[in-house]
């Protein structure tokens, strides 16, 4: 532990404070400093003072560089945490709502499988384990197959440019889902609460619900409505999937997770293909797959939810956005004369710029994708993208400002749905199961995001969370509950 330039440190530490101007100022000064120094460098013999001075300057530069790294890392951490917070909250809301719904509907009466007619194997408890496994594996594979086919169809449609078809299909299916599943759920709620209702009001309710839902999701509407409806959609779908029989549901979850890995990571994965084609001939596919990314737009340009945490996020965000101008600077400056940097691949300026534009496209495309988390690369510039020469400030600003509404991390609606399915299945058991699965899923999500930060590429969000969830579910059901039961009955705390 030492105490070098503590004031300095203290200033760096409170990074959100609007101290940026002065620091930028320092930047420029230091650059001047450096240039001066270079100009001064002559093979002539130096005086003590010159030596000393030189040394001071070096150390100054060095300190600046470290300052940069530090800041960049802090930017990363902040962007990570704030965007993660902005993901965790809606995910938690969705899961909690699902649990409440399931507990209300199926606390006393058992849920009837709503896939009875379509599923090839209807599980009944008398069957042997093997038969159950085989049958439900078949069911799960059929459902996953359907998903796979749909994804490929969408990709094909996209390749051959009949996107309107896809739009029509998606809007229609959303309307049907909100209308029909919503109505069924509503009736189940009425039955569960033993309430009366007449058809007239019922139809009016459902019509309003569905129409406004589609309007808000696909056309125009207040941000808050949009969010609520996206949550509602995932809760409804989760409820339907939760009605699958035990084994089928778990196997389906596993299969979906695996398919997710394939689709996002493998070179031939349809989602990857989708993104790549979208990049090659840049077709606008905004709005595809419900714009689920809308959640995680950085919230400081929507006026609908302005509570404290949003504001704090805003601070994080804006600061980070301010910062990465500040981040790119030192490299551009320092790499002029500091040729001792170990990695030395140096793309041309224009190439670099088109890299960036491509990135923009990419971010634009990828957030339509259903099953992956991604982050705009601008927030965390990769080392190899470092420009060789210092580029004018203008360009930088320009980039930031067009990046601004791309900020944050984007999570597909599919992930929401399948997390909720898992939680719904858990909530058919004890509350302890719900809690453990909840923690498991959130932790898995955070881990995924962490890897995202590390690897800086699009990742599937399901596998880690789902596997955690499944393991925790069975552990809780098999070992934890009896254990806790025994301790709790005799009021023992350990």
């Amino acid at each position: 532990m030492d105490s070098l330039s503590s004031q300095e440190e203290l200033k760096e530490s409170d990074i959100e404070k609007p101290k940026k101007e002065t620091e930028n100022l320092n930047e420029n000064e230091i650059e001047n400093e450096i240039e001066k120094e270079n100009s001064q460098e002559k093979p002539e013999k130096e005086t003590e003072e010159q030596k000393k001075k030189k040394y001071w300057d070096r150390s100054k530069i060095r300190r600046m560089r470290q300052l940069m790294k530090e800041k960049r890392f802090e930017v990363m951490i902040q962007a990570f945490t704030s965007s993660l917070k902005r993901i965790l909250i809606p995910v938690s809301i969705t899961m909690i709502l699902t649990v409440i719904l399931i507990k209300t509907l199926y606390s006393d009466q058992t849920m009837n499988n709503q896939f009875q007619d379509v599923s090839v194997y209807n599980e009944n408890s008398s069957d042997s384990g093997g038969k159950k496994f085989a049958g439900s594996l078949l069911n799960a594979l059929i459902i996953v197959g359907a998903i796979v086919v749909m994804t490929f169809l969408i990709v094909l449609c996209f390749k051959f440019g009949c996107m309107n078809l896809v739009f029509a299909y998606i809007i229609f299916s959303t309307f049907i889902m909100l209308g029909i599943i919503g109505a069924v759920t509503f009736i189940e709620l009425l039955v569960a609460e033993n309430l009366g209702m007449d058809w007239l009001s019922f139809v009016i309710f459902m019509l309003n619900f569905a129409v406004v839902g589609v309007t808000v999701i696909f056309w125009k509407g207040p941000e808050i409505f949009n969010k609520m409806y996206l949550i509602a959609v995932s809760v409804l779908v989760a409820k339907v999937f939760a009605s699958l029989p035990e084994w089928t549901a778990w196997i389906l979850l596993g299969a979906i997770a695996i398919w997710d890995i394939f689709a996002v990571l493998s070179a031939r994965g349809p989602l990857k293909v989708l993104i790549e084609t979208a990049q090659q001939e840049d077709k606008p596919i905004a709005g595809l797959l419900y714009n689920s990314s809308l959640y995680f737009e950085n919230d400081y340009d929507n006026d609908d939810n302005d509570n404290d945490d949003e504001n704090s996020d805003k601070n994080h965000e804006s600061s980070s956005d301010k910062d990465h101008k500040f981040v790119d600077n030192p490299y551009s400056t320092s790499s002029d004369e500091d040729n001792f940097e170990n990695d030395t691949n140096q793309p041309k300026k224009n190439e670099e710029i088109e890299n960036k534009t491509e990135d923009n496209n990419e971010t634009k495309k990828e957030d339509q994708d259903d099953d992956l988390i991604k982050i705009p690369k601008e927030v965390f510039p990769e080392r190899k993208k470092r420009p060789e020469t210092k580029k004018p400030e203008k360009v930088q600003y320009q980039y930031q400002y067009e990046d601004e509404d791309e900020g944050g991390i984007k999570l597909g609606l599919g992930d929401f749905i399948f997390y909720s399915v898992l939680i719904a299945k858990a909530s058919l058991n004890d509350y302890s199961t719900v809690f453990t699965c909840f923690i498991a899923i959130l932790t898995g999500l955070s881990l995924t995001l962490f890897f995202l930060i590390v690897y800086q590429k699009a990742l599937p969000a399901l596998p880690i969370s789902i596997s955690f969830g499944i393991i925790f579910y069975f552990l809780t059901k098999l070992v934890l509950d009896p254990f806790i039961e025994q301790l709790g009955n005799s009021s023992v705390f350990a």
Partner: protein, 98 residues
């Protein structure tokens, strides 16, 4: 297609008009949505729409609620008609108080 993209004034007015007209097809919730969407707007045309939408929403809701109240209280007396009109016939006595 994208709710988040910012709109120009005349686009906003178009949207408001469409939503307002659509609201007449038994869509009070859409009116409410419209009112919330443009509630912060300065433009007085939009403001007019917002006011109208609020008015329509509350009037419609009022009538709907009165109808529901009447139905729920009179359901049993209407006999077969009442049953055919119900989505769900609750068990037991409707005016039960414990």
């Amino acid at each position: 297609m994208d709710p988040s993209t910012p709109l120009t004034e005349e686009q906003k007015i178009k949207v408001a008009k469409k939503m307002y007209i659509a609201g007449f097809f038994f869509l009070p919730w859409l009116w409410f949505c419209l009112a919330i969407y443009f509630r912060k707007e300065k433009n007085e045309i939009l403001q007019k729409y917002v006011k109208k939408a609020y008015f329509g929403f509350f009037v419609f809701t009022f009538f709907l609620l009165t109808w529901m109240a009447v139905f729920l209280s009179q359901r049993d007396r209407w006999g077969v008609k009442g049953d055919n009109l119900s989505v769900n016939i609750p068990y037991g006595d409707s005016n039960y108080d414990s």
